[in-house]
């Protein structure tokens, strides 16, 4: 990736932000200046890091479980037409339901700790992974399937050696979406009920009119999300190259 445009864009955004603060003269509890946010961020770096660690753990564990479950579902559904007819509508329905609406229930079931947030992340990741991987599994180039058929192939081995490898690029695009959604799930889970995590820190700071701390937490979350995206993107590219 080119660094120069990113540095330039960041500098521009910060300047714009500072300009808005200077021109409008908004009080610091409405819109803190970039400098103040940086200062607060540095002063609270250990506090923020501690909460980041919690959120990151939720996101990463959620990503792993959600991807594994989604991929397993896709393979299961690809292997059996009957299952597909039965389960696909359920999948679509669960996705039509806003996952956020489930957050209070999940907190009730899994408690205020890590697991209710992981469950949120898993739920929000599960569908995009399952559905894009399934699409890929069902769109194997017909020529390969013809060839396999003339070879008297067994369906399980066609799945294993042809359909799954051919669908890995689709799994990769599901994974990219998952990396975007996972932090959303975790933070929402923290808003509903938590005693740790960046989402919790944001609410706490907001409630005490410590807007600068809230901004620092949001920026940290943003940086974490970008880092996650970069790592997952690297992984996805490897899957696509296969």
């Amino acid at each position: 990736m080119k660094t120069l445009p990113i540095v330039a864009a960041t500098a521009f955004a910060i300047l714009l932000w500072q300009a808005v603060v200077s021109v409008t003269g908004l009080p610091r509890f409405i819109l803190p200046s970039p400098l103040l946010v940086m200062e607060t961020w540095w002063q609270n770096r250990w506090l923020i890091a501690e909460h980041l660690l919690v959120t990151a753990a939720e996101v990463l564990i959620g990503l792993m479980i959600g991807t594994a479950l989604g991929a397993a579902t896709a393979i299961q559904l690809a292997a059996s037409t009957r299952m597909r007819v039965l389960v696909r509508p359920i999948l679509v329905f669960t996705q039509a339901l806003p996952v956020f609406a489930l957050a209070p229930i999940l907190t009730l079931w899994f408690g205020f700790g890590l697991w209710s947030k992981i469950a949120m992340a898993v739920l929000i990741i599960y569908f995009p992974v399952a559905s894009s991987f399934l699409d890929g599994l069902l769109r194997t180039a017909p020529g390969y399937l013809d060839l396999a058929r003339t070879m008297q192939a067994r369906p399980i081995f066609v799945l294993l050696y042809v359909r799954i490898p051919a669908a890995l690029p689709s799994l990769a695009s599901g994974l990219r979406l998952a990396a975007v959604y996972a932090p959303i799930g975790a933070v929402i889970g923290e808003w509903v009920g938590a005693s740790r995590g960046l989402g919790y820190l944001m609410l706490l700071a907001n409630g005490r009119a410590k807007t600068d701390l809230m901004f620092a937490a949001v920026l940290t979350l943003g940086l974490f999300a970008i880092l996650l995206h970069l790592v997952i993107n690297r992984l996805a590219q490897r899957l696509e190259r296969n």
Partner: protein, 242 residues
């Protein structure tokens, strides 16, 4: 080799209620090259796919029989214009794909022998993307031979190659497929004139048989009888245009 049975195709096919080809009678003589020649969309590939037991989208009314009364689909090997090499597998992995898809051990000595005969020994560990068009088609031919079936169905196998590579592939294919019953579908009258023991020209009106020159195949590229025959096939194809 248990390849001493011939195959008879008798019948007609409809595509979405419209006739695709009129009633035909095609005989694949045991251990001979039969060439099915015709323009695009006349149903040449459909006939080949019917013999192979593959989906065609057309409705075939009639019968396809082996002279020994046995099953046909289990005794054919198939090769298409698209080499259908799996991009993520090595050349060796592609050649032995059939065994893997059946869950069987691959025959290593046969692999070694076929790699040698197709001149791919030093490319065995490469992926298809690292090969030239001719090498890829040789790998596809080796994969077809690995199946060791008495009947080999070739669907425009060399159409995507340049003239020189095509002629080389034709020579190699005749050499390696010796003793097998071969059906080659092609739109190239030159290919038919070089390779066929028997030629059937397919048009919407039905099949017309042509007898090629008596020279053994592959007929030399500069054989005057073959070139003259090529020209006469070409004339037939021009007349057939509606």
């Amino acid at each position: 080799m248990a390849g001493s049975f011939s195959i008879t195709v008798k019948g007609h096919a409809d595509l979405k209620g419209m006739p695709l080809f009129a009633p035909i009678s095609l005989e694949l003589t045991a251990q001979r090259w039969t060439c099915l020649l015709g323009g695009s969309g006349v149903g040449k590939s459909t006939i080949l796919r019917l013999i192979a037991g593959l989906e065609t989208g057309a409705t075939f009314t009639g019968r396809i029989e082996a002279s020994d009364g046995g099953q046909i689909a289990t005794r054919i090997a198939y090769m298409a214009q698209d080499d259908l090499l799996l991009p993520w597998a090595t050349v060796a992995g592609n050649i032995t794909l059939g065994a893997r898809l059946r869950g069987k051990q691959r025959d290593k000595s046969r692999l070694k022998q076929l790699l040698e005969r197709t001149g791919l020994t030093e490319h065995a560990a490469k992926t298809p993307a690292q090969l030239s068009g001719g090498q890829r088609q040789r790998a596809a031919l080796a994969r077809t031979l690995m199946e060791d079936k008495p009947v080999v169905l070739l669907d425009e196998p060399f159409s995507a190659l340049d003239a020189r590579t095509r002629a080389q592939m034709q020579d190699l294919a005749v050499e390696l497929l010796d003793g097998r019953t071969v059906l080659i579908v092609t739109h190239d009258p030159g290919e038919a004139a070089r390779l066929a023991h028997a030629i059937a020209i397919l048009s919407p009106g039905g099949l017309v048989s042509r007898q090629p020159p008596g020279h053994p195949i592959p007929r030399p590229i500069d054989d005057l009888d073959s070139l003259e025959f090529h020209a006469s096939l070409m004339r037939d194809l021009m007349v057939d245009q509606p």
